[in-house]
Amino acid sequence: MRGYAGRFMEIDLSSCDIKEKRFPDEVLRDYIGGRGLAAKVLWDRLGSKWETVDPLGPENILLVLTGPLTGYFPGSKVCVSGKSPQSNGVIGSTVAGEFGVDLKCAGWDGIIVTGKSERPCYIFICDSQIEIKDALPIWGKRARQTLQFLIKESIDEIKSIRPLYGEAKEPSILYIGPAGENKTRVAAVISKYAHAAGYGGYGGVMGAKNLKAIVAKGFGPLPEVYNMDRMMNMARRFSKETFEMEWFRRWGTGGGGYSFAAESSSEPVRNWQSEWHNKKSYKREEFDKYWVKKNWGDFGCPMTCLKLSVLRKGRYRGAICDNPDYELQAYLGANLGIFDPEQNIYLSYVNNELGLCAIQGGAAMGFAAELYQRGILTKKDLDGIRLEWANVKGFAALAEMIALRRGMGNILAEGVYRAALKLGKMKRTNLLKYAIQEKGVAIGAHGIRSGKDFISENISYACSVQAGDHTSPASLPDGGELSSIMPDSAVYCFFAAFGQSNKEILNFYRSITGWKLTAKEWFGEKALRILQLQRAMLLLGGPDAKWKPKLDDDNPPRFWEPLPSGPYKGKALNRKRFERARLQYYRAVGWDVNGVPEPETLRKLGLSGVEAKLREASIIE
């Protein structure tokens, strides 16, 4: 087996039992790693009782998985998964950083965490040594202090393991903030500052397990590959092409806060009440004023699309964040009526300190602010906060209420979808029309009404098995989500691979694993199998939410309204065209007219167990 360390670790936090786990070659060939393997493991272990598993309960399984391309592909990530407390299905949520590299260098392909620790803990990994350590000193602590403590304690520990090594480098760290500890559904798993696995809500899953962080240091090399020269030559070529992408290298997605609104009319503005603005104050050059003049990259990255922002003076002195990248500029800026880079950097920093996912948390705040605008929520409901658009202080206070589950924050901590249901009951009115979400997941900051964004199909979100996740949109003619399954499963950063054809990626995969994988096998079989597993678990859902494709494979109500402003004013989605596309998509990926995987599709892919389960749950009738 090449490209893999060859073993996974399984940690039961209830019994503190630590085991080694290996998967047969066939499983790795079919499911690769990351998102694909997560779907497989979750199905095998929880599938039979999926509807009853509480994502925030001890039976859920947290997976932190690398893939065969992790560390070799120029641009490294790690994939976090489990039963999602947002969609109640499975989401492969990736985050950049060195964690996956350190884990593989320590001799592990991934971590399977079960059970729940009695007291706050963190997992420390140094090569074959694994310890479950006390996290009481950092429980309740925010990002900065959490990292300070973990870096210091871990370096001391590494020095005691290798006393003669010399100056020890810091380990890689995945951690949660108070939002995760308090089991909110809008909490991210974070690496460094502002690097987040946000979609899925796995920060809350870690919190539910009393798991504050996972720390990894590997002293070994990355696992051997099948053809080192070939792999290095391809990596060099990919990098060279990336070096030519001057605009994206210069600005990253942080160049988008103005242009996605002014040019493509696809940015959420004031809880998506519009998708266009023309605020010159939000131009990239204005953000540039707060950027340290350096690029910010992770292991092997030729793109380094992130920049470091620091507020050295002024009201928000001390705030540190990334660009902010586009999703943060949108969800913690325009979507809250904020068009001032300084304020956006500050809110992004607050958000990161609290361990919130910017998209899910930002969406919950935008939703609350629209309710305030409409007089549905009042100052009294919000503990005295006047939640007017652009009230930065108010939003910072609300973020804290969400992360700590205080007052109205306790409801918003459930995420937009669940908050709309709860508040709707309290206020005796339908609030789902103000909830911009897809199957429990707030939608990425890429509107589809103008048709001018890179995500532009009417089914992009409605048919995705990762729901609102803008990194995994569905598309026609052949089920575009299947191509997103590759980077999430082989676990690398597709930002560093813009423009690489499927063929190139599959050749790269072969140079590492030695396993031949054709596009036909991938799209026609393996990726499709992973998609069916994710779809099955999404439809099983439960215990608190269950999706009906006819009803829920749909766009949020607001997306059906015409755009109210900008050059694409009046543009709206067409219901008939949408239904036609949806049906076409169902057919392309082997689902029936109701969006349920066809028994024949499942059998052909060797998933007759899934068929049986879907029959038992009356999803296949």
Binding site: P74, R144, L147, G166, E170, G297, P302
Partner: protein
């Protein structure tokens, strides 16, 4: 960029810490060149990140007095006449760690296999780390004639000290203190 060794001009690797993106492509290039594998902990150049956003590429400073060479009881270390780099004679090195202690910058480290020290050999005058850093236009690492640096030993500081200095430069002194704790 690279002064040709045929001109017998010794080089020094100039670090501009503020330019380092933390991409660690230098670690990849170094370990592939010297170990034939991607092996960050065996790389002669190591990027420390004691604070996210403050990345410190750390490698030999080639001090004028070569304290590490003097400290070696086994004569395993020597200065390469041509390049000025410290060469490690693996057959003599016992991994005792005295050179690590002698280094004012805490630069050398024991190879993860445990039996020898690793120190930058300047790739015999054409350092791969600099090549890949230049290729990506980050310019955190550049080669310059060694004569241009008047006191190399004064620049040799341990990663923690360098982190404080660079953090102060990037974040300002007060914020740096808050972040470092």
């Amino acid at each position: 960029m690279h002064r040709s060794m045929t001109r017998k001009e010794k080089i020094w690797i100039l670090r501009n810490y503020g330019n380092c993106s933390g991409c660690r492509r230098c670690e990849i290039a170094c370990s592939v060149k010297h170990e034939g594998k991607i092996w960050p902990e065996a790389s002669r150049i190591r990027v420390f990140m004691l604070v996210p956003g403050v990345e410190i590429p750390h490698l030999c400073f080639q001090c004028e007095d070569y304290a590490c060479v003097k400290a070696c009881p086994m004569q395993a270390l020597s200065v390469n006449d041509r390049t000025g780099a410290v060469n490690v004679d693996v057959s003599r090195c016992t991994a005792c760690g005295l050179c690590v202690k002698a280094c004012p910058g805490s630069v050398p480290h024991i190879h993860p296999e445990g039996n020898r020290v690793v120190i930058c050999d300047l790739c015999d005058g054409k350092p791969r780390c600099v090549e890949v850093c230049q290729e990506g236009k980050w310019n955190a690492l550049t080669t310059i004639p060694i004569a241009k640096i008047s006191s190399r030993k004064a620049l040799a500081k341990d990663p923690k000290k360098l982190t404080i200095e660079v953090a102060e430069e990037i974040l300002g002194a007060e914020i740096a203190r808050e972040v470092m704790g």
